[in-house]
Point group: C2
Chain length 267, copies 2
């Protein structure tokens, strides 16, 4: 094992999400990054070449694929001895829904906001329904904040366009909890270490590139999707999500998305 290979293994360990190494979720991140196209196919061999270096056994990948097929995310075909996996229409739609939030380098600032207020007591059901269907952030048990102008909602919610200025401490704490800060800081640290130690002149194989990209996207996805959709002025001044986003794309830019053909055929 040469130095580059040792570095690669160390980078993989560093980039692995300390919170979530669920294989089906890693497969979802992988397809979202490399195989969102309607015609994209990932061979069983390619999946192994990308995922096994993360210390995940072939059996665990088979179990994850089984689960994803059952849930309607992924479908598989077999041509001779070669199995091929691809996103279903449903999986592609779900993947496409979150792609903008994960891959936006500079999220477009929201210029209008509104809140929904529910009646005390039984009104909270209607509010929960609205929150589930839309991009809302709960402010309290019966108030939620959402982007855009107030829409036509269930009659029994009070909708008010608002001009947010700043948020009290309890709300910042709730919206930007310590776990998120830790997740941001540790991902920034991991990416920094990978960048700083990158072996001079080393070029990863297409599968290695896919492994590193998948790990980064998988870990970043949880930060990006949990980053609350709230006015910029509501974030604490030391909020690291924007710095984390920058760090993610700085490293991804050195790992251009490989072609599936190269990974499928490799090995």
């Amino acid at each position: 094992m040469n130095d580059d290979r040792m570095w690669f293994d160390a980078a993989v360990a560093k980039l692995a999400d300390p919170q979530n190494q669920r294989v089906w979720s890693i497969v979802v991140s992988l397809f979202g990054d490399l195989a969102q196209d309607r015609t994209a196919r990932v061979s069983g061999g390619a999946l192994g070449r990308i995922i096994e270096p993360m210390g995940i056994k072939p059996e665990a990948i088979r179990v994850a694929l089984h689960r994803l097929r059952k849930d309607g995310w992924i479908d598989s075909t077999r041509i001779g001895r070669v199995s091929e996996h691809f996103l279903t229409e449903y999986g592609r739609t779900r993947s496409a829904q979150v792609t903008p939030r994960i891959y936006a380098r500079t999220p477009v600032p929201v210029s209008r906001w509104h809140i929904l207020i529910a009646e005390d007591g039984n009104g909270t059901c209607t509010l929960e329904k609205a929150v589930q269907d839309g991009d809302y952030t709960m402010l309290s048990r019966n108030a939620a904040l959402g982007p855009g102008a107030p829409q036509e909602h269930a009659d029994d919610l009070l909708a008010l366009e608002v001009s947010p200025q700043n948020a009290p401490a309890w709300l910042r704490e709730r919206l930007c909890p310590p776990e998120m800060r830790t997740a941001c800081a540790s991902l920034i640290g991991a990416l920094q270490q990978v960048s700083d130690t990158w072996p001079k002149g080393w070029v990863p194989t297409p599968a290695q590139t896919a492994t590193l990209r998948t790990l980064i996207i998988h870990r970043w996805r949880r930060v990006a999707l949990r980053n609350p959709d709230i006015p910029a002025s509501f974030f604490p001044s030391d909020w690291e999500e924007p710095a984390c986003r920058d760090a993610v794309f700085r490293v991804l830019d050195t790992l251009p998305r490989p072609s599936l053909k190269d990974i499928n055929g490799q090995g």
Copy 2:
């Protein structure tokens, strides 16, 4: 007893508040309407001439004055056999606080609004304190609406400037309850009947004018002060408070405020 006197008694009966004939409260309405000036004095005789025609006994007036003196609203002096009553500094301040809401013919529309949202649980105390101190209307257990731009508030309230458009049914019901509708409609009806039957050419005495004005202001005061301070668009389309206000001032305009000198000296 001539026809005019019979009409006057009928008008007094018609204008009497069906909900609240508490004498101390009538005395407060009377002083607010006729004797808010720092130098204004109402003789015991004048009080009787204004209030007794409402069917209130002299003893009840004495009890009310006693209570108002004890509460610091009113003070009294006696010069020979003549007692004189007047608002204390405190009574005048309290009276002046509500005067704009009672006597404004066309309330100035509020152009900016904000809401305060409290943290679930212990935050409601801070909200209740803010609501007590200011012109707020509770929207739900932990949200209140107030006029103007968001002020500097206790750090633990979320303050958001809002552009109110319309309100759901439950909120209209809460803010504009049936009792208020009934109070408006019945006062409009009483005023209409008084106007329609007003004896041709009849001119009330200063004390009779004061009796009628006091009754109207006393009953209107309760409507005006309970009318919620909310955006125009939040009222039901058939909300009668503006019509009631118009009716009140239409009749008051035919009953110009008499001079206290005339009533004090009369008899």
